[in-house]
Amino acid sequence: MSTTDTTKGESKETTSGKELVSIFVMGKKYEVPKNLTIMKAMEYAGYKYIRGCGCRGGICGACGTVYRKPGDYHIYVGLACQTVVEDGMYLTQLPFFPANRATYNLEAIGSDPEEVYKKYPELFRCVACNACTKVCPMDISVMDYISAIKQGDFEKATELSFDCIQCIFPFENYGG
């Protein structure tokens, strides 16, 4: 009895005989099988991840990727481990983003939006351009949950932001 023949670990993925598409990784062209995710396509192309790869399952936020499509002025954002490559796509990963993070003591701050303003004064500057929502790879309505915070509705904010995988969780500046 043999199970190995039918069950291949990720490492042994067959890729022969597949239809190929061109993608541009940081401007450099690679031919990769269509239907792969960006993550697997980059590995197919020969990249080995140190950064930009965590859970490989769409929940850790390590693999944020910015990409464009030919003839389209939009900037798209997606998770490399979840987004399928498209012909002509050009992309770069954003494995880190220098974000701001306040320290707090949950017991002490209570649920007053003023406290949040104090920690994040930039909330005052929101003009509802909604760029935050558009850039979220998890399709979270960021603007709406920020609005909920400003309105003091933390329950709603929690619900709206619940699927956040903190792809720009600030990791900087706390190394030893």
């Binding site: 929101c126 003009v127 509802a128 351009c129 909604n130 558009k134």
Partner: protein, 294 residues
């Protein structure tokens, strides 16, 4: 004589014909125009291009939410919000070019053409409910209370979104009378409360507030009513500063019209959150026995 000179981009390109003769002429007059060694665009392109539409995104989005709800009318209680929403709405209705720009920018939203009607709560009370009906529902008439209606700016200016003509204003007056109180119209009723000046120039702010309070008091008011949190902050919460500065001023409790209406309708102090007003408010209501009457 030497003086620093800013030519600007146009004078360096299409309007060299302005720059060169100028420099030459001044030179002839013994003045050397010394071009700044480091300069950039004066910013006119941005500041005069009239495309500060970014600020309209927030109110227009809110109006789109109304349409999404299947509604066509939106009631707003805060004067400032009313003003912002109504102006944005008007622009979306009347300025097709800007409407197009905004709709294109917000491609993730449905197009909006100003189909919603933005109504201030005061107008709504009058037009959709009617003073008569309200009068019938009054449980605790605010009898004997002399109230000065304070409009401030944003209910009446600019004219295009004014809830009524400033010179023929009656909304507050009618409401106050409907609640059984006495109206004290006063000249400073439509003055500016000093708005955010109170933060950047507190002295000027407090002076402005003092004048408004003094005007209302001199006409015999016991209370001020407003529909704007910023006016309330300046006239109410910052009143202490004015009192400290001017001996002759007396405490003048400041209310939102919604608070007085709720009291008059017999809903009691519980719904009024008086703890968020300044101090004198509860004292006055107690002395008038409006709190116990329900």
């Amino acid at each position: 004589m030497k003086i620093s000179y800013y030519p600007g981009c146009t004078l360096k390109t299409k309007a060299k014909n302005m720059d060169c003769p100028g420099v030459a002429a001044l030179n002839a007059l013994g003045v050397e125009l010394v071009e700044l060694p480091r300069w950039n665009c004066c910013g006119a392109v941005f500041s005069l291009a009239d495309d500060d539409l970014l600020h309209l995104l927030a109110p227009v989005r809110d109006l789109i939410r109304v349409v999404e709800q299947g509604d066509n009318k939106l009631v707003v209680a805060c004067s400032m919000c009313y003003n912002t929403l109504a102006r944005a709405n008007l622009l979306m209705r009347e300025n097709s070019e800007k409407r197009h720009t905004i709709n294109t920018f917000m491609e993730e939203e449905r197009d909006y053409n100003g189909e919603v009607e933005v109504v201030h709560l005061l107008s709504f009370l009058r037009d959709e409910i009617g003073w008569e009906k309200i009068k019938e529902s009054i449980k605790v008439p605010l009898r004997g209370l002399k109230i000065a209606p304070y409009y401030g700016c944003t209910l009446l200016r600019p004219q295009s979104v004014a809830i009524e003509p400033p010179e023929k204003r009656t909304l507050f007056k009618d409401l106050i009378e409907t609640m059984g109180a006495t109206v004290v119209d006063f000249p400073a009723s439509t003055d500016c409360c000093s708005s955010y000046q109170i933060l950047s120039n507190p002295d000027i702010g407090i002076e402005t507030v003092s004048k408004i309070l003094e005007s209302a008091e001199s006409w015999g008011a016991e209370a001020i009513v407003t529909s704007c949190p910023l006016c309330e902050y300046n006239l109410g919460k910052r009143q202490e500063d004015a009192l400290r500065k001017h001996d002759k001023l007396k405490e003048l409790p400041t209310f939102y019209f919604t608070q007085l209406l709720a009291l008059a309708l017999g809903l009691g102090a519980e719904v009024c959150n008086f703890e968020l007003n300044h101090n004198g408010v509860v004292r006055l209501m107690e002395s008038k026995k409006f709190l116990t009457a329900a």
